[in-house]
């Protein structure tokens, strides 16, 4: 499929600049994807507008010029499609799942998800209104765990920062975040049975002044090469 897409787009020239709105949690991966895409299509430039998924959706609906939207949750994508903001059906291009992150020294002695409910363990979660917070709630409910966090952070990175600095004993974040943080945090896996899978949708935008390249980028992300990069970062297959 990728090869076919590549040959058709060559006819209408994949070139010029596109701007991709991508969820903050995709910052590292998409920067890498962008570079690969530019290499594959000389003459193209990919720029990014990173931000919280909900903030990006708000920007798109307020008329922010862009070509592609990659959201960390279907909900925010729906906000955009509902306003006719996408020119094609969104496709899921990656999945993510949660993991417990603990500081390398593991002061709270957390070794499983259920340890989060122990008294005296300081836990940071995302706030319920953002995708990772909603997911965390789902997981905790699913496992019948009553966890009282010391803080509800506005995004995943804030949770991770608090873990890194040792301010909390554990935080619930995405697998990809633990991977990106490398040695600075330790991951405590949550088995798939107890976990929940988040979908990441992507779609070209109606606003786009360079629909061809926009489509090519979406295609590239869903292509084998793109998936490999996402997989390396810890994302799962859609």
């Amino acid at each position: 499929a990728t090869g076919a897409a590549g040959s058709t787009s060559a006819a209408t020239a994949v070139t010029g600049t596109i701007t991709v709105f991508a969820a903050a949690s995709l910052t590292g991966t998409f920067t890498e994807l962008g570079t690969q895409f530019q290499n594959a299509h000389p003459g193209t430039t990919v720029k990014f507008n990173f931000g919280g998924s909900s903030a990006l959706a708000e920007q798109i609906n307020s008329g922010a010029p862009g070509d592609v939207f990659a959201s960390a949750a279907p909900k925010n994508m729906t906000t955009v499609t509902a306003k006719n903001g996408t020119s094609a059906q969104p496709v899921n291009f990656a999945t993510n799942k949660l993991e417990v992150a603990v500081p390398p020294a593991n002061p709270g002695k957390v070794s499983s998800l259920s340890d989060l409910a122990k008294s005296g363990v300081k836990v940071a979660l995302c706030q319920a209104q953002v995708p990772c917070g909603a997911a965390a709630l789902t997981v905790l409910q699913k496992n019948n765990l009553a966890v009282t966090p010391v803080t509800e952070e506005p995004d995943v990175k804030s949770v991770l920062t608090k873990v890194q600095l040792g301010e909390v004993d554990a935080g619930v974040v995405y697998v990809t975040d633990v991977k990106a943080a490398a040695a600075k945090v330790t991951g405590v896996e949550i088995p798939d049975a107890q976990n929940t899978i988040s979908q990441y949708p992507i779609a070209p935008l109606t606003e786009s002044k360079n629909a061809t390249t926009a489509k090519a980028f979406v295609d590239f992300v869903t292509s084998a090469g793109g998936q490999a990069i996402l997989h390396a970062a810890g994302f799962g297959k859609p």
């Binding site: 919280g52 708000e58 209104q129 966090p149 010391v150 803080t151 509800e152 506005p154 920062t161 600095l165």
Partner: protein
């Protein structure tokens, strides 16, 4: 003008029900309390600091003044991280606070106050320093000849004379503390009832329901404007020579 737009587009109907919510009322009270506490601390620490900047000649004065202005420039989130590094559980100072006194600041209401103070104190210092620079040294000299030492002069002459500026600075400081978001969420976290101030509640609401967020902003604005009108007016009247 943007404020007008805010008013026009506001979901007035939703306001009533929002105000009924317990979390909103709690957040509002917490905001006002923390901002007021931060203001008081800023006055207590900031006025003497402003005095030093205005009156004491020492090498590095220029640098000191610039450092004081730094929290103005620092993106608040970075300010929060800096605070964590300093006063967090593993922070440069924080680890001793914890082990010696058993005090932890992050994730507590005290932490909110610290974060707000860090961000808003410069406003007070800048206002007061300006006033001190332009205030009449002659009166301080007169006080000295009457037997008043440095501290008495400061307390009984210098401070009363710049009171209007301290008032104005405190208003700026309070307003800034009330709207503080980044440093607070980073340093103190976001937990309803202990560290969730109005701006954090507004941010929360924003993720799901922008209209509700706007309504909440209006509530915050209303409280702020009401208090400002009431207070500033009193201060200005007390301070004006007419």
């Amino acid at each position: 003008m943007p404020l007008l737009a805010l008013l026009i587009r506001a979901p007035w109907s939703a306001l009533g029900s929002l105000l009924g919510q317990r979390t909103v009322v709690t957040a509002l009270r917490l905001s006002v309390e923390c901002a007021s506490a931060a203001t008081v601390i800023s006055i207590v620490l900031g006025v003497p600091l402003a005095w030093v900047l205005a009156r004491v000649r020492f090498p590095g004065l220029r640098l000191a003044r610039a450092v004081i202005t730094v929290p103005l420039v620092l993106p608040p989130v970075v300010g929060g991280v800096a605070l964590l590094m300093a006063a967090g559980r593993n922070g440069v100072v924080g680890q001793h606070l914890d082990s010696w006194f058993g005090i932890t600041l992050p994730f507590t209401t005290a932490g909110v106050v610290v974060a707000e103070t860090f961000v808003s104190m410069p406003f007070l210092i800048v206002s007061v320093e300006g006033a001190l620079r332009s205030s009449d040294l002659g009166l301080e000299e007169a006080a000295a000849t009457l037997g008043a030492g440095r501290w008495t002069v400061f307390r009984r002459v210098t401070v009363p004379l710049v009171l209007p500026s301290i008032g104005a600075g405190a208003v700026l400081c309070w307003a800034r503390a009330l709207g503080e978001f980044g440093a607070t969420i980073t340093f103190a976290g976001n937990y309803p009832g202990t560290t969730q101030t109005m701006p954090l509640a507004i941010y929360n609401a924003f993720q799901t329901d922008p209209d509700a967020a706007i309504a909440l902003s209006l509530v915050l604005l209303l409280v702020a404007v009401t208090l400002l009108v009431a207070l500033r007016d009193n201060w200005l009247r007390a301070g004006s020579p007419t």
